[in-house]
């Protein structure tokens, strides 16, 4: 079975290519696949019809209970023959019908056939749902074609919206059903049907989905609209196969769920009302296809009522009608296709005298209509007899006489519109249209003839039909009158009389009232659907216009208000007890608090960018001290270093930007809203902080960390967490940092690549004014590139002395991190600051001299080292990121003990160094380069010449000024 599905998919994919070579011959090739299904099902039929079944399953995610389960039983076999048989005939018919775009049509039709095959074989509710929606998608593609006509797009959209909407409702029902039953297997639900209120709700939802798919009123509007599709598509999808999916689902679940309260009333009322009303409407339309479409809706209503009724006779009648309808309705559609193809019209008012012009088609269509009307000895007759029998004697169904009356009324109208179809299509005196119609090719009519013959053969050979349909019906117990058997002649019974009466009245209705009486018009759901769609469009425009105003501050305010309103309300509602509030932990806290808050508040009022970043840095340093007094030396160290590095990076970028903020244009009202919103968040977070610090009830996870830290060979628990316990987090984190650095580099780079690699053997231009402290000797290798006026012997000597020491310190921090505060992050940041120093004092050339490897290479190798160390344990059968303590006894050094996680920390160190270099290269060196075509910002600096020189020779000096709090021309 899986192979069949794969064959459909594979051939459907290949067909567009084959079509270019094969031309029209592609259709018979495509038809081979459904033919193979028919044959395959034939070989399985004996065992299945004897009550056996075939099961296949493909385990997809067994731990989630997701398995592709397929099952072939009697009902599936019947549907499979319908789907594949009609499919093969329709594909053969297309050989003559389709004029253009054949590859796409063939592929989609075949894909649809595959989806439908999967749908009828599925034994799992989710698998069924997936195939269900696949048929919807195929239907959408087939209705819309290339989407060139507005009518096609509209019809396709309507079909898609109605059926997927129903499908979603059905999925909800499936989930409720599956939860109630404890299994999502269809056979499991059938074997042990669940009961209860949940199941009642689920039944309503599932039935809504089925009704939408099978075009039951009031969800039927999409099916007549879908008649814009090519006629073979209408014949296959919208008569024989896809619309049967809903009916099939009803039939599939009825044995288990027919007794659940709303099932029977829903199915019977909706089905029979649809049957009568749709037949009524079929009497009004003049387009032959539209007539058949309403006829289909009507027949589907009858099928829903019969298959959902949940008695043996009704189920038998339903399955026979299912088979009969697939044969005669697709035959009729295909006949209309032939007429349309030959004459160019399908309008009853234009067609006349075609019966003589196309006798074969006329005969074939007449047989099909006779089957539809229920004339003996055709298949439709068998079904209708059984149907009347089922309702007339179905005493277990409430109001069974009313049901019979409705069924007979529907049959009467069916006969009438059948006669109207024949009369309209073939009757009348020979006219212009008939004269210009060409005779259809035999191969064109053959598939239609096969379908009509089938309806005759299966009617006469009723034993065969009974063998095919009885196994499903036998799922129900036989009724009080014993098992009903299919037969062409039961004698002169009441059923026979009623059946004949309906035919007689139907013919009379057609003959007597054909032209004199116009059936009154019924309320139309189509208009309602259109209005609803237009209203949704308008609502979307209004809603989007109101909510999506395009202003970032407004969005932000909404977010903040939501944060305060929703979790804040919960916080207030819970009224936590605050335990024993304490004003501060350490007496120095209030001073720090005032400092931090004052610095932060000053950021708000400052008008200068540089002041802003310095004040923010001050707040950061204050926070670092708070970390320190609260027993977090690692945090304090890192915060200090990061704050410094942030200052450097931001200041280097700020060199290029105007000194002052642009004057705010916000109105007072806006400002008040902002203050209130952010103030409210502040209060909320303060309360949250108070609450969370008192909310801990269970022991901390870190108790375990503390007790296990010695296993890692470390003494610093924070470092152990970072490089060992939660090393995965760290790995992710350093990757983020690397990505951010790459992003910065690509965002600020306006000119060529960064110049870190340049070594400083370029002699600086002679500078007119020498300063007293201009170095005579070379203290820094690259510093000579700078002009004398920018150099300072004091700084150069200090840097020369400090640089190696700082690097050494950074290494110390790296390796001692396991035992005392420090580690890869702080070590790397310290090393980075050594390079920052070189850059600020010696310029970019000196930085190039200090480190000759690209920053990105260092960062990348750091990440690779960390990842490698993490993955290495896999090679020794460990788990990733596992760490071991290694003890060595080298000859001179004595005992050396280290953890392998140290190498992970080295990776972190390298990465941080590389990232800092990359950032320096980006925001320092790249921004040093003169802006070639850049706009000249509104610079207060009048002296452009000096400015350019500054640019040429590195802006580190400016940064130095900035750090000293001066405001140079650039700021």
């Amino acid at each position: 079975m899986l192979f069949l599905l794969a064959a459909h998919a594979g051939v459907a994919l290949a067909i567009p290519w084959w079509q270019r070579r094969l031309g029209r011959a592609v259709w018979p090739v495509a038809a081979l696949v459904p033919l193979a299904v028919v044959v395959w099902a034939g070989t399985r039929a004996p065992r299945v019809l004897a009550g056996g079944e075939y099961v296949e399953s493909l385990s997809w995610a067994p731990s989630l209970g997701l398995t592709v389960e397929l099952r072939l039983d009697a009902l599936a076999l019947l549907m499979l023959w319908i789907v594949a048989g009609v499919g093969a005939l329709v594909l053969l018919y297309c050989r003559y019908y389709v004029e253009h775009d054949a590859g796409r049509l063939a592929a989609t039709l075949l894909a649809f056939a595959g989806a439908m095959t999967g749908l009828v074989l599925a034994d799992n509710l989710f698998v069924l749902y997936v195939f269900w929606e696949l048929t919807t998608v195929a239907s959408f593609l087939l209705i819309a074609e290339r989407g060139e006509a507005a009518e096609q797009r509209r019809a396709a959209r309507q079909a898609l919206l109605v059926t997927t909407g129903g499908g979603l409702v059905m999925l909800l029902g499936f989930i409720m059903l599956g939860q109630a039953a404890g299994t999502y297997s269809v056979s499991g639900i059938l074997a042990d049907p669940p009961r209860g209120t949940t199941v009642s709700v689920a039944v309503v939802l599932v039935l809504i989905g089925a009704f939408a798919k099978s075009a039951q009123m009031p969800l039927h509007g999409w099916l007549p609209a879908a008649m814009v599709a090519p006629t073979p598509v209408s014949a296959y999808l919208h008569a024989a196969a896809m619309v049967k999916a809903g009916v099939y689902l009803v039939a599939r679940l009825a044995p288990a769920l027919a007794d659940v309260p709303p099932w029977r009333p829903m199915v019977l009322v909706v089905g029979l009302v649809t049957m009568v009303l749709a037949a009524w409407r079929a009497l009004r339309v003049t387009d032959l296809k539209m007539l058949l479409a309403y006829g289909t809706v009507s027949e589907l209503g009858m099928l829903t009522a019969l298959l959902g009724a949940g008695t043996r006779t009704a189920a038998l009648a339903g399955t026979v009608m299912l088979l009969a309808h697939a044969a005669f309705k697709s035959a009729l559609f295909l006949s209309v296709g032939i007429i349309d193809h030959a004459t160019g019209t399908r309008d009853i008012r234009e067609l006349s005298g075609l019966g003589r012009r196309m006798p074969v088609v006329c005969v074939v269509a007449t047989v099909a209509v006779a089957s539809m009307a229920g004339l003996p000895p055709l298949l439709g007759y068998l079904g209708k007899e059984a149907a009347v029998e089922a309702f007339l004697y179905g005493t277990e169904l409430g109001g069974h006489l009313w049901l019979t009356a409705a069924l007979l009324l529907g049959s009467l109208l069916t006969v009438a519109y059948g006669a109207r179809f024949l009369q309209g299509a073939f009757g009348g005196p020979p006219g212009d249209v008939a004269a210009r119609a060409h005779r259809p090719a035999p191969g064109f009519v053959a598939p239609v003839a096969v379908l009509s013959t089938a309806t005759l053969v299966l009617g006469v050979w009723y034993a065969g039909t009974a063998a095919l349909t009885t196994p499903y019906a036998d799922a129900y117990p036989p009724g009080p009158h014993g098992s009903y058997e299919l037969s062409l002649w039961h004698g002169f019974t009441a059923v026979f009389g009623l059946s004949m009466l309906s035919i007689l009245l139907g013919v009379l209705l057609h003959l007597v009232w054909r032209d004199r009486w116009r059936p009154p018009r019924l309320p139309d759901v189509q208009r309602g659907f259109d209005r609803a769609m237009a209203a949704v469009d308008r609502l979307a425009v209004v809603l989007t216009g109101r909510t999506q105003v395009g202003s970032l501050p407004v969005y932000m305010t909404v977010l903040l208000v939501t944060v305060v309103a929703v979790p804040g309300a919960v916080l207030v509602a819970s009224t936590p007890s605050l335990g024993s509030p304490q004003w501060w932990w350490s007496p120095s806290e209030p001073f720090l608090a005032v400092m931090v808050l004052a610095a932060a508040a000053a950021v708000v009022v400052t008008r200068h960018r540089l002041t802003g970043i310095l004040l923010s840095g001050a707040a950061g340093y204050g926070v670092a001290v708070i970390f320190l007094i609260r027993g977090a030396p690692d945090l304090a160290l890192t915060q200090f270093l990061v704050e410094t590095m942030t200052l450097v990076v931001v200041v280097l970028v700020l060199r290029r930007m105007p000194a002052r903020f642009e004057p705010g244009r916000a109105r007072t009202g806006t400002r008040v809203v902002r203050v209130v919103a952010s103030g409210a968040v502040g209060v909320f977070v303060a309360c949250l902080a108070l609450m969370t610090s008192s909310a801990r009830e269970t022991p901390a996870i870190s108790t375990e960390y503390v007790s296990r830290t010695p296993e890692t060979g470390a003494q610093n628990i924070v470092n152990a967490i970072i490089v060992d316990f939660r090393a995965m987090d760290t790995l992710g984190e350093i990757a983020v940092i690397l990505v951010a650095a790459v992003g910065v580099a690509s965002l600020v780079r306006v000119g060529g690549p960064g110049a870190v690699r340049e070594t400083g053997d370029r002699v600086g231009r002679p500078f007119p004014t020498a300063h007293w402290d201009e170095p005579v000797e070379t203290w820094l290798p690259g510093a000579r590139e700078r002009s004398g006026g920018e150099r300072s012997v004091l700084l150069e000597v200090a840097t020369r002395l400090l640089f190696p020491s700082i690097l050494l310190l950074s290494l110390y921090l790296l390796f001692s991190g396991h035992y005392s505060p420090g580690g890869g992050f702080s070590g790397g940041l310290v090393a980075g600051q050594a390079f920052v120093l070189r850059y600020l004092v010696g310029g970019r050339a000196d930085l190039g001299a200090a480190v000759r490897v690209r920053g990105s290479v260092i960062a990348g190798s750091g990440l690779m080292l960390a990842a490698f160390v993490g993955l290495l344990p896999l090679a020794f059968g460990g788990v990733p990121l596992e760490s071991v303590v290694v003890t060595l006894h080298p000859p001179v050094l004595g005992t050396v003990k280290f953890a392998t996680s140290t190498f992970f920390d080295i990776g972190v160190y390298l990465l941080v160094v590389g990232v800092v270099l990359r950032l320096l290269s980006a925001v320092g060196v790249s921004l040093d380069a003169p802006r070639a075509a850049a706009r000249d910002e509104d610079d207060e600096d009048a002296d452009d010449e000096d400015d350019e020189d500054d640019d040429d020779n590195g802006g580190g000096d400016e940064a130095g000024h900035g750090a000293r709090g001066e405001e140079g021309g650039r700021w």
């Binding site: 189509q526 109101r546 932060a600 950021v603 977070v685 870190s702 830290t709 628990i717 984190e733 505060p821």
Partner: protein, 155 residues
């Protein structure tokens, strides 16, 4: 039961308020500053929420008394947060610079496309062609079902 540190809760609240106020501005640079201050507040919140402060979580020798040392897990989380904040600040700063470089100011203007959506109906009233409803209800041709039905009625 942990002790509650009112001063630090106020600091955290204050930092959040200032940070969000700055982020509500239209200047990208102010937004970056707001992000930085918000970062300080968040790091502090992690630490404050982590419980009672104590001795540094470093085991020197055998004096491992989990009750006296500060909880190391929030510290490790805050450490990660500090470093990530640094990376993101640099990135935001670069974005602000790029925006300023390309547009000449570092303000955040309203999205013109969103503004267009807001005025779609006003413009539609002036110009029927741009009305968003692609299928205006045009009477008898509204749909094939209607089509057939009404022609049938004409018969």
């Amino acid at each position: 039961m942990s002790t509650i540190d009112v001063t630090l809760a106020l600091v955290v609240g204050g930092l959040f308020a200032v940070g969000f106020y700055l982020m509500l501005q239209r200047s990208l640079m102010r937004i970056v500053l707001g992000f930085l201050i918000l970062g300080h507040g968040t790091n502090l919140l992690l630490l404050v929420g982590g419980g009672t402060p104590g001795l540094p979580p470093v085991l020197d020798g055998a004096s491992a008394d989990p009750d006296r040392i500060a909880d190391p897990l929030p510290q490790a989380m805050a450490l990660t947060s500090i470093v990530i904040t640094f990376g993101l600040t640099a990135f935001l700063m670069a974005l602000a610079y790029r925006s300023w470089y390309l547009t000449g100011n570092d303000g955040v203007p309203d999205d013109p496309e969103d503004r267009r959506i807001g005025t779609i109906r006003e413009r539609a009233d002036k110009d029927q062609d741009t009305y968003p409803d692609p299928e205006p209800d045009s009477g008898p041709d509204a749909g094939p079902a209607d089509d057939g039905t009404q022609q049938g009625g004409d018969r």
